[in-house]
Symmetry: C2
Subunit: 217 residues, 2 copies
Protein backbone atom coordinates (compact mmCIF):
# COMPACT_ATOMS: atom_id res chain seq x y z
CA UNK A 1 0.00 0.00 0.00
CA UNK A 2 2.71 2.41 1.05
CA UNK A 3 4.79 1.58 -2.02
CA UNK A 4 1.79 1.97 -4.30
CA UNK A 5 1.05 5.38 -2.78
CA UNK A 6 4.65 6.46 -3.30
CA UNK A 7 4.46 5.32 -6.93
CA UNK A 8 1.26 7.35 -7.38
CA UNK A 9 2.92 10.43 -5.89
CA UNK A 10 5.94 10.01 -8.15
CA UNK A 11 3.66 9.83 -11.16
CA UNK A 12 1.84 13.04 -10.10
CA UNK A 13 5.16 14.75 -9.47
CA UNK A 14 6.43 13.70 -12.91
CA UNK A 15 3.30 15.16 -14.54
CA UNK A 16 3.75 18.46 -12.67
CA UNK A 17 7.40 18.74 -13.75
CA UNK A 18 6.37 18.11 -17.37
CA UNK A 19 3.70 20.77 -17.03
CA UNK A 20 6.15 23.28 -15.53
CA UNK A 21 8.60 22.66 -18.36
CA UNK A 22 5.80 23.11 -20.90
CA UNK A 23 4.63 26.45 -19.49
CA UNK A 24 8.24 27.63 -19.26
CA UNK A 25 8.82 26.77 -22.94
CA UNK A 26 5.49 28.42 -23.83
CA UNK A 27 6.41 31.75 -22.21
CA UNK A 28 9.89 31.71 -23.79
CA UNK A 29 8.40 31.19 -27.23
CA UNK A 30 5.63 33.72 -26.62
CA UNK A 31 8.28 36.30 -25.72
CA UNK A 32 10.16 35.53 -28.94
CA UNK A 33 6.89 35.98 -30.85
CA UNK A 34 6.32 39.28 -29.06
CA UNK A 35 9.78 40.79 -29.47
CA UNK A 36 10.47 39.63 -33.03
CA UNK A 37 6.90 39.72 -34.44
CA UNK A 38 7.31 36.00 -35.20
CA UNK A 39 3.87 34.76 -36.27
CA UNK A 40 4.85 31.09 -36.42
CA UNK A 41 6.13 31.16 -32.86
CA UNK A 42 2.89 32.84 -31.73
CA UNK A 43 0.73 30.24 -33.49
CA UNK A 44 2.77 27.39 -32.05
CA UNK A 45 2.24 28.63 -28.48
CA UNK A 46 -1.51 29.00 -29.07
CA UNK A 47 -1.83 25.52 -30.61
CA UNK A 48 0.20 23.81 -27.92
CA UNK A 49 -1.73 25.18 -24.93
CA UNK A 50 -4.08 22.19 -25.26
CA UNK A 51 -1.16 19.96 -24.27
CA UNK A 52 -0.86 21.79 -20.95
CA UNK A 53 -4.62 21.48 -20.45
CA UNK A 54 -4.36 17.75 -21.16
CA UNK A 55 -1.70 17.21 -18.49
CA UNK A 56 -3.84 19.25 -16.10
CA UNK A 57 -6.68 16.76 -16.66
CA UNK A 58 -4.26 13.86 -16.15
CA UNK A 59 -3.20 15.29 -12.77
CA UNK A 60 -6.85 15.63 -11.74
CA UNK A 61 -7.62 12.06 -12.74
CA UNK A 62 -4.51 10.66 -11.11
CA UNK A 63 -5.15 12.52 -7.85
CA UNK A 64 -8.80 11.40 -7.67
CA UNK A 65 -7.71 7.85 -8.44
CA UNK A 66 -5.02 7.98 -5.73
CA UNK A 67 -7.44 9.30 -3.10
CA UNK A 68 -10.04 6.67 -4.01
CA UNK A 69 -7.60 3.74 -3.96
CA UNK A 70 -5.26 4.73 -1.14
CA UNK A 71 -7.53 6.79 1.16
CA UNK A 72 -4.59 8.95 2.29
CA UNK A 73 -4.81 10.95 5.52
CA UNK A 74 -2.78 13.70 7.22
CA UNK A 75 0.37 14.72 5.36
CA UNK A 76 -0.25 12.17 2.57
CA UNK A 77 -3.61 13.76 1.87
CA UNK A 78 -2.08 17.23 2.05
CA UNK A 79 0.37 16.20 -0.65
CA UNK A 80 -2.22 15.10 -3.17
CA UNK A 81 -4.47 18.11 -2.56
CA UNK A 82 -1.47 20.42 -2.93
CA UNK A 83 -0.76 18.80 -6.30
CA UNK A 84 -4.23 19.85 -7.45
CA UNK A 85 -3.57 23.48 -6.52
CA UNK A 86 -0.17 23.48 -8.19
CA UNK A 87 -1.55 22.05 -11.42
CA UNK A 88 -4.26 24.75 -11.46
CA UNK A 89 -1.57 27.45 -11.13
CA UNK A 90 0.50 25.85 -13.91
CA UNK A 91 -2.54 25.61 -16.17
CA UNK A 92 -3.13 29.33 -15.70
CA UNK A 93 0.53 30.11 -16.42
CA UNK A 94 0.06 28.33 -19.75
CA UNK A 95 -2.99 30.51 -20.47
CA UNK A 96 -0.98 33.66 -19.73
CA UNK A 97 1.77 32.61 -22.16
CA UNK A 98 -1.00 32.06 -24.70
CA UNK A 99 -2.33 35.59 -24.06
CA UNK A 100 1.12 37.04 -24.80
CA UNK A 101 1.26 35.00 -28.02
CA UNK A 102 -2.22 36.15 -29.03
CA UNK A 103 -1.21 39.79 -28.62
CA UNK A 104 1.79 39.19 -30.91
CA UNK A 105 -0.50 37.43 -33.40
CA UNK A 106 -3.09 40.20 -33.38
CA UNK A 107 -0.55 42.96 -34.05
CA UNK A 108 1.45 40.99 -36.66
CA UNK A 109 3.16 42.01 -38.94
CA UNK A 110 3.69 45.08 -36.72
CA UNK A 111 5.61 44.45 -33.52
CA UNK A 112 3.24 44.67 -30.52
CA UNK A 113 5.98 46.27 -28.46
CA UNK A 114 7.66 49.53 -29.54
CA UNK A 115 11.43 50.02 -29.17
CA UNK A 116 11.10 51.96 -25.88
CA UNK A 117 9.49 48.97 -24.17
CA UNK A 118 11.73 46.17 -25.44
CA UNK A 119 14.22 46.33 -22.56
CA UNK A 120 11.58 46.20 -19.86
CA UNK A 121 9.74 43.29 -21.52
CA UNK A 122 13.01 41.46 -22.03
CA UNK A 123 13.60 41.92 -18.30
CA UNK A 124 10.11 40.67 -17.37
CA UNK A 125 10.53 37.64 -19.62
CA UNK A 126 13.89 36.82 -18.03
CA UNK A 127 12.41 36.94 -14.52
CA UNK A 128 9.42 34.82 -15.64
CA UNK A 129 11.80 32.29 -17.16
CA UNK A 130 13.96 32.04 -14.05
CA UNK A 131 10.88 31.55 -11.89
CA UNK A 132 9.50 28.81 -14.14
CA UNK A 133 12.89 27.07 -14.14
CA UNK A 134 13.03 27.25 -10.33
CA UNK A 135 9.57 25.73 -10.08
CA UNK A 136 10.40 22.85 -12.40
CA UNK A 137 13.44 22.12 -10.19
CA UNK A 138 11.50 22.41 -6.93
CA UNK A 139 8.69 20.15 -8.13
CA UNK A 140 11.32 17.45 -8.52
CA UNK A 141 12.67 18.06 -5.00
CA UNK A 142 10.60 20.44 -2.83
CA UNK A 143 12.39 22.42 -0.13
CA UNK A 144 11.25 24.80 2.60
CA UNK A 145 13.24 27.73 1.17
CA UNK A 146 11.27 27.57 -2.10
CA UNK A 147 8.97 30.48 -1.39
CA UNK A 148 11.72 32.93 -0.40
CA UNK A 149 13.62 32.64 -3.69
CA UNK A 150 10.45 32.97 -5.74
CA UNK A 151 9.23 35.95 -3.75
CA UNK A 152 12.54 37.73 -4.24
CA UNK A 153 12.26 37.15 -8.00
CA UNK A 154 8.67 38.41 -7.89
CA UNK A 155 9.83 41.66 -6.29
CA UNK A 156 12.03 42.10 -9.36
CA UNK A 157 8.97 41.59 -11.55
CA UNK A 158 7.03 44.22 -9.60
CA UNK A 159 9.90 46.72 -10.05
CA UNK A 160 9.85 46.07 -13.78
CA UNK A 161 6.09 46.58 -13.90
CA UNK A 162 6.47 49.97 -12.18
CA UNK A 163 9.21 50.83 -14.72
CA UNK A 164 6.86 49.83 -17.54
CA UNK A 165 4.07 52.09 -16.26
CA UNK A 166 6.49 54.98 -15.87
CA UNK A 167 7.26 54.72 -19.59
CA UNK A 168 3.62 54.23 -20.61
CA UNK A 169 2.42 57.20 -18.54
CA UNK A 170 5.20 59.58 -19.53
CA UNK A 171 3.75 62.77 -21.05
CA UNK A 172 5.94 62.24 -24.11
CA UNK A 173 4.50 58.76 -24.87
CA UNK A 174 4.27 58.92 -28.67
CA UNK A 175 2.28 55.77 -29.58
CA UNK A 176 -1.30 56.49 -28.61
CA UNK A 177 -3.80 54.58 -26.53
CA UNK A 178 -3.79 51.19 -28.31
CA UNK A 179 -0.08 50.56 -27.84
CA UNK A 180 -0.27 51.85 -24.26
CA UNK A 181 -3.15 49.47 -23.50
CA UNK A 182 -1.35 46.52 -25.10
CA UNK A 183 1.75 47.38 -23.08
CA UNK A 184 -0.21 47.51 -19.82
CA UNK A 185 -2.04 44.24 -20.50
CA UNK A 186 1.17 42.47 -21.55
CA UNK A 187 2.82 43.70 -18.37
CA UNK A 188 -0.04 42.23 -16.41
CA UNK A 189 0.30 38.86 -18.16
CA UNK A 190 3.96 38.55 -17.12
CA UNK A 191 3.21 39.81 -13.64
CA UNK A 192 0.35 37.33 -13.16
CA UNK A 193 2.56 34.52 -14.49
CA UNK A 194 5.04 35.41 -11.73
CA UNK A 195 2.23 35.56 -9.12
CA UNK A 196 1.23 32.00 -9.96
CA UNK A 197 4.86 30.93 -9.64
CA UNK A 198 4.89 32.50 -6.15
CA UNK A 199 1.68 30.63 -5.28
CA UNK A 200 3.35 27.38 -6.30
CA UNK A 201 6.35 28.21 -4.11
CA UNK A 202 3.98 28.76 -1.17
CA UNK A 203 2.23 25.46 -1.86
CA UNK A 204 5.61 23.70 -1.90
CA UNK A 205 6.56 25.21 1.45
CA UNK A 206 3.23 24.06 2.86
CA UNK A 207 3.96 20.62 1.46
CA UNK A 208 7.35 20.41 3.18
CA UNK A 209 6.58 22.17 6.47
CA UNK A 210 2.84 21.71 6.92
CA UNK A 211 2.65 25.44 7.69
CA UNK A 212 0.81 27.86 5.36
CA UNK A 213 2.84 30.84 4.10
CA UNK A 214 1.24 34.20 4.95
CA UNK A 215 0.10 36.50 2.19
CA UNK A 216 -1.84 35.71 -0.95
CA UNK A 217 -1.02 37.25 -4.29
CA UNK B 1 -21.35 7.17 7.79
CA UNK B 2 -23.59 8.16 4.91
CA UNK B 3 -25.40 10.69 7.06
CA UNK B 4 -22.16 12.13 8.34
CA UNK B 5 -20.89 12.52 4.78
CA UNK B 6 -24.09 14.30 3.78
CA UNK B 7 -23.72 16.63 6.76
CA UNK B 8 -20.13 17.38 5.70
CA UNK B 9 -21.26 18.15 2.16
CA UNK B 10 -24.01 20.44 3.43
CA UNK B 11 -21.48 22.33 5.51
CA UNK B 12 -19.16 22.75 2.48
CA UNK B 13 -22.08 23.85 0.35
CA UNK B 14 -23.13 26.39 2.98
CA UNK B 15 -19.60 27.83 3.04
CA UNK B 16 -19.56 28.12 -0.75
CA UNK B 17 -22.91 29.95 -0.80
CA UNK B 18 -21.61 32.37 1.84
CA UNK B 19 -18.48 32.92 -0.23
CA UNK B 20 -20.51 33.53 -3.41
CA UNK B 21 -22.68 36.06 -1.60
CA UNK B 22 -19.59 37.79 -0.24
CA UNK B 23 -17.90 38.14 -3.64
CA UNK B 24 -21.17 39.34 -5.14
CA UNK B 25 -21.48 42.04 -2.45
CA UNK B 26 -17.80 42.92 -2.93
CA UNK B 27 -18.17 43.55 -6.66
CA UNK B 28 -21.36 45.57 -6.17
CA UNK B 29 -19.64 47.80 -3.65
CA UNK B 30 -16.48 48.04 -5.77
CA UNK B 31 -18.62 49.23 -8.68
CA UNK B 32 -20.22 51.87 -6.46
CA UNK B 33 -16.73 52.97 -5.40
CA UNK B 34 -15.69 53.12 -9.06
CA UNK B 35 -18.67 54.99 -10.46
CA UNK B 36 -19.17 57.45 -7.61
CA UNK B 37 -15.52 57.89 -6.48
CA UNK B 38 -16.62 56.64 -3.04
CA UNK B 39 -13.42 56.14 -1.04
CA UNK B 40 -15.14 54.54 1.96
CA UNK B 41 -16.78 51.91 -0.23
CA UNK B 42 -13.41 51.17 -1.88
CA UNK B 43 -11.66 50.78 1.47
CA UNK B 44 -14.41 48.55 2.80
CA UNK B 45 -14.06 46.14 -0.16
CA UNK B 46 -10.28 46.02 0.29
CA UNK B 47 -10.51 45.39 4.04
CA UNK B 48 -13.17 42.73 3.73
CA UNK B 49 -11.37 40.57 1.17
CA UNK B 50 -9.66 38.75 4.07
CA UNK B 51 -13.11 37.40 5.02
CA UNK B 52 -13.39 35.70 1.63
CA UNK B 53 -9.87 34.31 2.03
CA UNK B 54 -10.83 32.99 5.46
CA UNK B 55 -13.85 31.09 4.13
CA UNK B 56 -11.62 29.73 1.36
CA UNK B 57 -9.33 28.27 4.04
CA UNK B 58 -12.35 26.85 5.87
CA UNK B 59 -13.49 25.05 2.69
CA UNK B 60 -9.97 23.61 2.25
CA UNK B 61 -9.87 22.36 5.83
CA UNK B 62 -13.39 20.96 5.73
CA UNK B 63 -12.75 19.12 2.45
CA UNK B 64 -9.48 17.60 3.68
CA UNK B 65 -11.20 16.59 6.90
CA UNK B 66 -14.10 15.02 4.98
CA UNK B 67 -11.77 13.04 2.71
CA UNK B 68 -9.71 11.84 5.66
CA UNK B 69 -12.70 10.77 7.77
CA UNK B 70 -15.08 9.47 5.12
CA UNK B 71 -12.72 8.17 2.41
CA UNK B 72 -15.24 9.01 -0.32
CA UNK B 73 -14.98 7.37 -3.75
CA UNK B 74 -16.57 7.85 -7.19
CA UNK B 75 -19.19 10.62 -7.34
CA UNK B 76 -18.80 11.42 -3.63
CA UNK B 77 -15.12 12.10 -4.17
CA UNK B 78 -15.90 14.12 -7.29
CA UNK B 79 -18.17 16.32 -5.21
CA UNK B 80 -15.59 17.26 -2.62
CA UNK B 81 -12.83 17.86 -5.18
CA UNK B 82 -15.21 20.02 -7.21
CA UNK B 83 -15.86 22.09 -4.08
CA UNK B 84 -12.12 22.85 -3.90
CA UNK B 85 -12.11 24.15 -7.49
CA UNK B 86 -15.21 26.24 -6.93
CA UNK B 87 -13.78 27.85 -3.80
CA UNK B 88 -10.58 28.73 -5.70
CA UNK B 89 -12.66 30.46 -8.40
CA UNK B 90 -14.67 32.34 -5.79
CA UNK B 91 -11.52 33.42 -3.97
CA UNK B 92 -10.21 34.86 -7.23
CA UNK B 93 -13.51 36.66 -7.89
CA UNK B 94 -13.03 38.36 -4.52
CA UNK B 95 -9.52 39.44 -5.56
CA UNK B 96 -10.89 40.93 -8.78
CA UNK B 97 -13.50 42.96 -6.90
CA UNK B 98 -10.64 44.16 -4.70
CA UNK B 99 -8.67 45.20 -7.83
CA UNK B 100 -11.62 47.32 -8.99
CA UNK B 101 -11.82 48.92 -5.53
CA UNK B 102 -8.07 49.61 -5.53
CA UNK B 103 -8.33 51.40 -8.87
CA UNK B 104 -11.10 53.61 -7.45
CA UNK B 105 -8.97 54.23 -4.33
CA UNK B 106 -5.86 55.13 -6.35
CA UNK B 107 -7.67 57.68 -8.52
CA UNK B 108 -9.72 59.20 -5.68
CA UNK B 109 -10.91 62.01 -5.46
CA UNK B 110 -11.00 61.91 -9.27
CA UNK B 111 -13.40 59.36 -10.74
CA UNK B 112 -11.40 56.48 -12.33
CA UNK B 113 -13.94 56.22 -15.12
CA UNK B 114 -14.78 59.21 -17.38
CA UNK B 115 -18.36 59.94 -18.43
CA UNK B 116 -18.01 58.19 -21.81
CA UNK B 117 -17.29 54.85 -20.11
CA UNK B 118 -19.91 54.92 -17.36
CA UNK B 119 -22.62 53.17 -19.38
CA UNK B 120 -20.40 50.31 -20.46
CA UNK B 121 -19.04 49.76 -16.94
CA UNK B 122 -22.56 49.93 -15.52
CA UNK B 123 -23.45 47.21 -18.04
CA UNK B 124 -20.44 45.06 -17.14
CA UNK B 125 -21.23 45.42 -13.43
CA UNK B 126 -24.85 44.38 -14.03
CA UNK B 127 -23.79 41.25 -15.91
CA UNK B 128 -21.22 40.41 -13.21
CA UNK B 129 -23.87 40.83 -10.54
CA UNK B 130 -26.40 38.60 -12.32
CA UNK B 131 -23.75 35.91 -12.77
CA UNK B 132 -22.74 36.02 -9.10
CA UNK B 133 -26.39 35.84 -8.06
CA UNK B 134 -26.94 32.84 -10.35
CA UNK B 135 -23.94 31.08 -8.84
CA UNK B 136 -25.09 31.66 -5.27
CA UNK B 137 -28.46 30.09 -6.25
CA UNK B 138 -26.89 27.15 -8.08
CA UNK B 139 -24.51 26.34 -5.24
CA UNK B 140 -27.59 25.80 -3.10
CA UNK B 141 -29.17 23.51 -5.71
CA UNK B 142 -26.90 22.54 -8.66
CA UNK B 143 -28.56 21.76 -12.00
CA UNK B 144 -27.27 20.52 -15.34
CA UNK B 145 -28.39 23.67 -17.17
CA UNK B 146 -26.15 25.84 -14.99
CA UNK B 147 -23.37 26.30 -17.52
CA UNK B 148 -25.62 27.35 -20.40
CA UNK B 149 -27.14 30.32 -18.56
CA UNK B 150 -23.76 31.51 -17.32
CA UNK B 151 -22.16 31.19 -20.74
CA UNK B 152 -24.95 33.24 -22.32
CA UNK B 153 -24.35 35.95 -19.71
CA UNK B 154 -20.62 35.76 -20.39
CA UNK B 155 -21.26 36.42 -24.10
CA UNK B 156 -22.95 39.63 -23.01
CA UNK B 157 -19.82 40.51 -21.01
CA UNK B 158 -17.59 39.88 -24.06
CA UNK B 159 -19.80 42.17 -26.17
CA UNK B 160 -19.46 44.90 -23.55
CA UNK B 161 -15.69 44.46 -23.48
CA UNK B 162 -15.54 44.92 -27.26
CA UNK B 163 -17.72 48.03 -26.88
CA UNK B 164 -15.32 49.31 -24.21
CA UNK B 165 -12.28 48.87 -26.46
CA UNK B 166 -14.07 50.60 -29.34
CA UNK B 167 -14.44 53.67 -27.14
CA UNK B 168 -10.89 53.48 -25.75
CA UNK B 169 -9.35 53.08 -29.20
CA UNK B 170 -11.41 55.75 -30.94
CA UNK B 171 -9.15 58.35 -32.55
CA UNK B 172 -11.04 61.05 -30.66
CA UNK B 173 -10.28 59.55 -27.22
CA UNK B 174 -9.59 62.71 -25.20
CA UNK B 175 -8.23 61.38 -21.88
CA UNK B 176 -4.71 60.18 -22.63
CA UNK B 177 -2.92 56.94 -21.91
CA UNK B 178 -3.46 56.62 -18.14
CA UNK B 179 -7.25 56.69 -18.29
CA UNK B 180 -7.19 54.38 -21.34
CA UNK B 181 -5.00 51.88 -19.46
CA UNK B 182 -7.20 52.03 -16.35
CA UNK B 183 -10.24 51.50 -18.54
CA UNK B 184 -8.69 48.46 -20.24
CA UNK B 185 -7.53 46.90 -16.96
CA UNK B 186 -10.89 47.53 -15.29
CA UNK B 187 -12.61 45.90 -18.26
CA UNK B 188 -10.36 42.92 -17.81
CA UNK B 189 -11.21 42.65 -14.09
CA UNK B 190 -14.94 42.43 -14.83
CA UNK B 191 -14.36 40.07 -17.72
CA UNK B 192 -12.18 37.73 -15.62
CA UNK B 193 -14.76 37.82 -12.83
CA UNK B 194 -17.29 36.56 -15.37
CA UNK B 195 -14.84 33.89 -16.63
CA UNK B 196 -14.52 32.48 -13.12
CA UNK B 197 -18.31 32.44 -12.84
CA UNK B 198 -18.42 30.41 -16.08
CA UNK B 199 -15.81 28.01 -14.66
CA UNK B 200 -18.00 27.50 -11.60
CA UNK B 201 -20.99 26.79 -13.85
CA UNK B 202 -18.92 24.14 -15.67
CA UNK B 203 -17.84 22.59 -12.37
CA UNK B 204 -21.47 22.41 -11.29
CA UNK B 205 -22.47 20.68 -14.51
CA UNK B 206 -19.66 18.19 -13.98
CA UNK B 207 -20.94 17.66 -10.45
CA UNK B 208 -24.46 16.88 -11.62
CA UNK B 209 -23.73 14.94 -14.82
CA UNK B 210 -20.23 13.52 -14.28
CA UNK B 211 -19.35 14.84 -17.75
CA UNK B 212 -16.80 17.63 -18.21
CA UNK B 213 -17.96 20.66 -20.18
CA UNK B 214 -15.78 21.40 -23.22
CA UNK B 215 -13.84 24.61 -23.45
CA UNK B 216 -11.76 26.35 -20.81
CA UNK B 217 -11.83 30.07 -20.35
Amino acid sequence: MREEFQADLNEVSRLLVTMAEAVRAAMRKATTALLTADLKAAESVIERDVEVDRIYQQVETKVADTIARQAPVASDLRMVITALHISADLERMGDLAEHVAKTAQRRHPSPAVPAELRTVFKGMADVADQMAEKIADLLGKPEAEAAAALEAADDGMDDLERELFKILLNDDWPYGAETAIDGALLGRFYERYADHAVNIGEQLVFLVTGQPVDGQS
